[in-house]
Amino acid sequence: MVEFKHVTKTYARTHTHALKAVDFRIRKGEFVYIVGHSGAGKSTVLSLLLRRINPTEGVVAIAEQDLAKLRDSQLPLLRRRIGMVFQDHRLLPKLSALDNLTFALRATGFHGNQEQRALGALRQVGLAHKRKAYPIELSLGEQQRVAIARALVTNPPLLLCDEPTGNLDPDTSWEILELLNDVNIKGTTVIVATHSRDLVDRLKRRTMVLRGGELVRDDDAGGYSL
């Protein structure tokens, strides 16, 4: 489903080599951790998958489609097939939990019953009862759940998570991880970029380790080892 073929990314302005000749393939339905220290290149991998940036060399492909060859007008269609969760959740503070989800649906041109669909996604993350709450009225863990619901509300086959537990305590982090695991069990391919040793060791899944932009380990058995 996702393939990196000899991908190098250099940020010309800062002369930073974020990724160096990285190769991997992620199959449909997999749960994959991308781990590494800050600056290892984790976020660059996710940005390439969203085609927010293009590789300097190599090919990034989703479903056999070379993303660099997509026209700008095709980007929205790509992104509708990818859910994205950030460490800082990026919920809109002036919208309720439910409205944050309907906002995303409206932006993608969803024509069905937006409220019903959004409520279904909130139910999936266990927050249907908080649908009227504004982000500031929710705990950090709940905010991240709403962000996950927003990422899932369009039923994307691929979910990308950039440090989804970075701001959370261990218990809440585990809850979020269990939620992501549930999402994966239902068929969504999940890629989690994290530097949390505890999480990776607790829920063992395929783990790719980046160090200084190089893929130094790709282990189906999982576990954190840098």
Binding site: R51, R79, R80, R81, A104, A107, G109, R150, T154
Partner: protein, 286 residues
């Protein structure tokens, strides 16, 4: 509908910038309207002046007036020609300046006989003048071309000044819109980021800002026309009392065209300004 709601929300939410933009645009457009109407009136006065321009050929003593009249009437440039005897010329002069009546009785009539010509096209005055001067019996030729030339020079200078004014004022209106839309984009950066991430199309993201620019242009046009047209009618009504001989532009069709032009200009400035801002600040760099 969603884009329109968002645009209205942005105008309300950022009302200080919106009012400043509308004020700048309204001022610019009102000055433009004033200048356009002034130029229109000058053109009308000029056309009128040229239409009434008469060429006079003064005849020497003993000239064959009727024969000369017949000759000039045969020229294709001449619309109308008549013989004005010196007695008739003096009577007309006294009618125009009654104080000369007593003086006229004291001396012999000093005025010569003359031919008065109206041309089909006033621009052919120099040509006709030369031909008149070549006729035997014609001692002098007079036309109003000097006055018209002065008027034309003033009109041309105003046209140049008007063009510069248009460029300066429209640029300031354009910059006002560009800044206003940039402020709106900055205020909604988070929303735009989310829209991009979930896969909103470029049109969906940009439409509210383009509509906002269009609405700012529309509001400015409505206020400008609300000020300029009644204001013009008031000024013309007052000036007509003082200067009844000036043919002010009152044709509703012509005024309507000026109003339409201003409205289209305002909407265009709104749309182009927002398009510039949107293309500068909503571009995704990969």
């Amino acid at each position: 509908m969603y884009a329109l709601q968002q645009a209205m929300r942005a105008i309300r939410g950022n009302w200080v910038a919106s009012v400043a933009t509308i004020t700048t645009m309204t001022l610019s457009l009102t000055i433009l309207a004033g200048f356009s109407l002034l130029s229109l009136n000058l053109n009308q006065v000029l056309a009128n002046l040229q239409g009434e321009l008469e060429v006079s050929a003064f005849l020497g003593p003993g000239s064959d007036g009727p024969r000369l009249l017949e000759t000039v009437r045969s020229w294709p440039e001449v619309a109308r020609a008549e013989y004005v005897g010196k007695d008739r010329a003096l009577a007309a002069l006294v009618a125009d300046i009654p104080s000369l009546a007593s003086a006229a009785q004291l001396v012999d009539n000093p005025l010569p006989d003359a031919l008065a010509l109206r041309l089909l096209d006033p621009s052919q005055t120099p040509l006709v003048r030369v031909r008149l001067e070549q006729l035997t019996g014609v001692i002098d030729v007079e036309d109003g071309s000097d006055a018209v030339a002065t008027f034309l020079a003033v009109n041309d200078a105003l046209r140049v000044l008007g063009t510069i004014l248009i460029v300066v004022l429209l640029s300031s209106a354009l910059f006002a819109i560009v800044n206003s839309i940039r402020a709106a984009i900055t205020a909604r950066e988070d929303e735009i980021e989310v829209q991009r991430l979930v896969g909103a199309t470029r049109g969906f993201i940009r439409a509210p800002f383009l509509i906002e620019g269009f609405l700012l242009g529309l509001f400015s046009a409505v206020i400008t026309l609300g000020l300029a047209i009644p204001g013009y009618q008031f000024v013309v009504a007052r000036l007509s009392e003082e200067l009844p001989f000036v043919p002010f532009v009152r044709d509703p069709l012509l005024l309507g065209q000026v109003a339409l032009l201003l409205a289209v200009l305002s909407l265009l400035v709104g749309l182009v300004g927002s398009a510039i801002s949107v293309s500068q600040h909503l571009r995704e760099r990969t």
